[in-house]
């Protein structure tokens, strides 16, 4: 019975969706990403996400990368629970003063080589929270940033593109 339910569900979603214009681009990106990750790091890519005071909007889109439409893990990318297992640190939020130390400690716990991606407009320089008594001036004011992804929040495709861009830069550097 359970199988029937799922077959139905999946078919329901697969057969009658309205057109998805970016599907091809999305798959191409995911494949390119996986290949880059293997070439650069010789294996899959481990990502640790840290919310440094975001509004939670960016987290929702990072989450969406794991849904069946994007299914990031299928290409060998995984979100890991410990910074000690991570290659990439995804940081969201302007970095609140109350999160500064936690972010620094997470960064320091990561092994080299490591990359940092600041995700979202407010992660760049504080964005709309810039100048607040409670915020630092973005992620790069606390830890070195390799790449910033604009958007409020950046959508999953933009996030995939960002991971790819980082790997290209990493490949050149390495």
């Amino acid at each position: 019975m359970r199988k029937a339910i799922l077959d139905n569900l999946i078919r329901g979603i697969a057969t009658e969706p309205p057109p998805v214009p970016d599907a091809a681009m999305r798959d191409e990106l995911a494949r390119a990403l996986a290949e880059r990750a293997r070439r650069t790091l010789g294996r899959s890519l481990s990502i640790r996400a840290v919310d440094a005071g975001s509004c939670n909007g960016c987290e929702l889109e990072i989450h969406a990368l794991s849904n069946p439409f994007y299914d990031l893990e299928r290409f060998g990318f995984s979100f890991v629970a410990s910074p000690r297992h991570a290659d990439v640190l995804l940081v969201t939020g302007p970095v609140t003063k109350n999160m500064r130390e936690a972010l620094e400690r997470t960064y320091n716990a990561m092994p080299d080589p490591k990359w940092v991606i600041a995700v979202g407009d407010c992660a760049k320089d504080g964005g709309c929270f810039k100048g607040s008594y409670a915020c630092c001036a973005g992620v790069s004011s606390v830890v070195p940033v390799d790449l910033h992804l604009p958007g409020c929040p950046p959508n999953p495709t933009a996030l995939l593109k960002g991971l790819l861009a980082l790997l290209e830069a990493g490949a050149k550097r390495g």
């Binding site: 799922l6 975001s54 960016c58 629970a81």
Partner: protein, 502 residues
Amino acid sequence: MSQLLSQIASTKMMAHHRPWPRAAVNAEGWRFAADQLAAGRWVLVGLWGERHAVHMAVRDEAANESAVLSFAAADGRFPSVARLHPPALRLERTIQDLFGLIAEDAPDGRPWLDHGRWGMSAPLGTHGPANAARYPFLPVEGDSLTEIAVGPVHAGIIEPGFFRFTTNGEAVVRLEQRFGYTHKGLENLMAGATLARGIDLAGRACGDSTVAYSYAFARAAEEALEVNVPPRAVWLRALMAELERMANHFGDFGAICNDAGFALMLAQCSAVRERVLRTSDTAFGHRMMRDCLAVGGVARDLAAEGITAIHALLDETGRALPRLKELYDNTASLQDRTVSTGIVTAALAKQYAAGGYVGRASGRSFDARQAPSYAPYDRLRFEVPVRQAGDADARVWIRIEEIEQSRALIRQILDHLPAGDIRAELRLPGEAREGVALVEGFRGDVFAWLRVNADGTLARAHLRDPSWFQWPLLEAAIENNIVADFPLCNKSFNCAYSGTDL
């Protein structure tokens, strides 16, 4: 004068506060209100400060009446409400942190948002020297107790917060939460801002509720300025709010089951959630409909292709939901985890006036769309599902039933959507004016209060997330549950961090 206010011995009515009345009260009146709250006759809607005053929004639910009471904290002190009514506690600690006003005889004088890292204390008040960073957790004594500290960075991709568990073997004997990690100083940024920037910031208070927050902010500002919002905009806002509710409820449904070890449901529900987001994108130009509302109306109109997309979404969710329900209902291993886990008693839900699925799963039927209600919900047909079990299972079912209601609401809105303008012109108020609004977000009622200056800028704005009255219930609900059930229990609440830290 309102029935509610007439019960207070000495009040002075304040002009230009809409739609609820606001009255200045003396210490006796303030204490009387705290008594009413403690006795369960009134409900605490909000408690917030400004430089030299504290304000309290209360509701008499039986009479469907609401009011704001203000106390001039002339010597920097006000009588503690939490002393009589515990749900006020964290709000009072916040007032103390932000404004430096002291709640006299408060049961807990520890800071809440202030971690001693802002370089100053009372940033919205007297600007004192920074407080100490050390935070004394509540003492725990007893044999064979273990403490487990979790956070502020968590294993998953979630917001930061700190949880200190005291356990006896597997069982949690106490959970103490500590938050404030995502405090961005939002209300301070709003002070002096234009209304346009104010609504931008409101939409970034709590990412998953961007529509609900900008909706509450817009309505409060429109009340203050007495703006007539064009009918089409009134209906489009409700459409956005129901899409947001559906997206979040689907997301939660899957995530709760995932934390109960049933990843299959997460895969299914997150796919449906993605469809809702894409539909919102097609309809309003943003997956989460951020910045789609404006003071005076909406910033984006709904085009024909959006209507087609939403109809397709209704068909699709109509097919998916019965199957997901059946899958949930017939998976014994899942039910085994959710049924009787993390029970919130009806008494506690009532005392804390818990909104949203937390309240409604524990017998509290309040829904701001129904009462005090607001347009266009006063003209729409819908039911507010209520359950009594108070466990994680009941919180799942409330979400499922609310998705069904949202689908029905969306259909009605599309059927009756008026044509016409989508945004009213704003006029300068010419004098200071105040407005208040309550909007039902997916998590519960979002409260907004603001004062607009004569020149149209914001003097002060306050936003109160429903989670203020839900987080403390999680502390109670987890008691005597096993530690391993915490993630599941926590997800069934899905309280906001940024929304409460601001």
